[in-house]
């Protein structure tokens, strides 16, 4: 296998990125002492830095590879992911970021455990965090496997294992500081790549927007297919393609707009800044960067359908090679070196996002489950929490690798991410919002909300056309569970609360939580807390 690896420019650029990030990891490891440093980067990340890191965490392989591929094949309907991914940040900005920063320590469960009986709530929150992270990670791994195969001609399975191993180095040795810097570098590179790619596409249309949109409206894959108007909606979610299409689309949209504010690896980012104001500034930065990036998907998504022959973006078996459209476009427009750059950026993206996901999953397991559920919030020995987090990182990585290999390289990364969003929106968001805004909310409600949201989303995915019964035998007709599972998550949290008896302690603590969440009094300070 190893003898088949050729030294290409892409491999060179990728190795340069890995070397750079490993140096950062090494420096972070020397600086990092104690839990607040390992799990929350000492709460000393600046607003713009965290904004870029949030953007880096978010603009994943799914966004770059998955969406550009989906737009190139399905046109407008693929672009809907771009819209939803951005608008979702309004939910984060308006409802979640600041209270969460004010009232928490390392994880989303800190906020929930504040008022509730900590053990059941943390156990459930930890389970749901692991679930979302693993689904999201599988999406990244699938994208990674495909790109490495093109990049250094290694087969899918060893490629996925290689990504997993590298990611573990960042997480295990560098913790949150290293992960943050990997994200920042990657976000800058990705934006550079997206601009360059868009510019080259526009160049094909004489740098004229009018000509560009005219070409998209008569897209024929460089003359290799009959013309179609890719700006017209309906190729994926249209009622003509699938009678449940429009409803599926609404379901997807709900999952996207409400899911981001429940993604554990995004939420943990707000603990790395000194205070709620900085958390707010970092969301604003993230919105700017992410917004521009998704607008650019117009060019390298639709644009691909105007300049690439259809055979070049199909697999040898004739399937749509959705995750490879962006790199192939780069090769066609910018040559071998630009292909190398875009591939290296895509690869860096995957590595960085996977590291971020593993970080949040292992933090949650170590902090919520191990320390607080098993050991009642007392650390036996200093550093135990970090040690458990490192061990968890291995297992989370291994499980995701195994499932990614089982699913194979043609699963669309954007679709898989859409599912992770639906689970996050159904399980996590209802309990986060009720904890912050509802006095009566209690332990029964939190556990019931997390359990119903998580279970309904996962079960509906299993029963969906993409699940175990396939397209024909599907019991649940929609691919996206959000429209059913999100209301069920809220309903579960509400019913669980009103059907269990009033919890005077939780209500008394609400005054405290509310005051702290809204004013920041007594919040975790930079450089504090072990």
């Amino acid at each position: 296998m190893l003898s088949a690896i050729q030294f290409t420019p892409a491999l060179g650029m990728f190795l340069a990125f890995v070397a750079l990030t490993l140096v950062i990891t090494w420096f972070s490891a020397r600086k990092a002492t104690g839990s607040a440093s390992y799990f929350a980067a000492g709460r000393s990340i600046k607003g713009w830095q965290n904004g870029l890191a949030v953007a880096g965490d978010y603009m994943s392989a799914a966004s770059f590879l998955g969406i550009s591929g989906m737009i190139a094949f399905k046109g407008y309907d693929g672009f809907m992911y771009s819209v939803g991914f951005l608008v979702a940040y309004l939910t984060v900005l308006l409802l979640v970021a600041e209270p969460l920063r004010n009232a928490g320590k390392y994880t989303m469960a800190d906020l929930l455990a504040y008022r509730m009986s900590p053990r059941p709530v943390r156990a459930m929150a930890s389970l749901s965090t692991l679930m979302v992270s693993v689904i999201y990670m599988i999406a990244q791994m699938v994208g990674a496997g495909g790109i490495i195969k093109e990049l250094i001609h290694v087969e899918f399975a060893p490629a996925v294992i290689g990504v997993g191993a590298l990611m573990l180095v960042y997480v295990v040795f560098g913790g949150m500081i290293a992960t943050t810097w990997v994200q920042i570098i990657k976000a800058v590179l990705l934006m550079g790549g997206a601009f360059a790619l868009s510019w080259l596409v526009l160049g094909k249309h004489d740098y004229s927007m009018t000509k560009f949109f005219a070409a998209v409206a008569h897209a024929d894959y460089a003359g290799t297919t009959v013309e179609k108007n890719l700006l017209d909606p309906g190729m994926k979610f249209g009622a003509a393609v699938n009678p449940y299409g429009p409803l599926d689309f609404i379901s997807l949209a709900l999952g996207l707009v409400l899911g981001t504010a429940g993604l554990p690896h995004i939420l943990v980012r707000f603990y790395t800044v000194p205070d709620a104001k900085t958390a707010r500034v970092s969301v604003a930065w993230a919105i700017g960067v992410i917004g521009v990036f998704y607008i650019l998907t117009t060019f390298f998504g639709f644009g691909a359908a105007t300049v690439l022959p259809i055979e070049s973006i199909l697999t040898p078996e004739g399937k749509e090679n959705t995750n490879m459209v962006a790199p192939i476009l780069a090769k066609a427009l910018g040559g071998e070196l630009f292909f190398a750059f875009i591939s290296a950026v895509a690869f860096a993206t995957i590595l960085a996002v996977v590291a971020g996901l593993t970080m949040s999953a292992s933090t949650s397991f170590a902090h919520d489950f191990y320390s607080n559920v098993i050991h009642h919030g007392k650390e036996n020995r200093p550093g135990q929490e970090i040690r458990v987090a490192r061990i968890t990182a291995f297992f989370v990585g291994a499980i995701s690798i195994a499932i990614a290999i089982a699913m194979g390289p043609t699963a669309n990364a954007a679709f898989l991410v859409g599912l992770a969003f639906a689970v996050a929106a159904s399980a996590n968001l209802p309990v986060i919002l009720f904890s912050i805004f509802w006095r009566r909310f209690n332990t029964g409600g939190a556990v019931a909300g997390l359990a119903t949201g998580l279970a309904s989303a996962v079960i509906l995915i299993i029963l969906s056309p993409n699940g175990v019964f396939g397209k024909t035998g599907a019991i649940f007709p929609l691919e996206n569970p959000g429209i059913v599972s999100i209301p069920l998550g809220f309903l579960g949290a509400w019913l669980g609360t009103i059907l269990t008896k009033k919890d005077p302690e939780s209500e008394a603590k609400f005054a405290e939580l509310n005051f702290r969440a809204q004013t920041g009094l007594g919040s975790e300070k930079a450089g504090s807390g072990h």
Binding site: V87, L94, L231, D232, G238, A253, G288, F515, T519
Partner: protein, 106 residues
Amino acid sequence: MANPQTPDWETLAKMPAFHELLAAKRRFIVPATVFFLLCYMALPVMIGYFPELMKKPFIGKVNGAYAFAFSQFLMTFILAAFYMRTAKKWDAMEHALLASIESKNA
């Protein structure tokens, strides 16, 4: 932290200045949230159930569907900018509130 002992949160939460802060936040956040959710969810509804209408040309070859999608980006940028501006006023209220608590404790 303003107070080395555990503050009396019930009393703090009853302060009129705190209620003013909450009300001020609510006045912006509730309508803004309702607005952006309706605005965003109108997109899949319009696309899914009125596709022919959305396929009509808007500017040149750009149809209503793309124009509506693009407007969501602008909506997000503008609403976020409004939020950042309004939140500065809350910061001032919060600062005054925390200062008054500190002076009482001193």
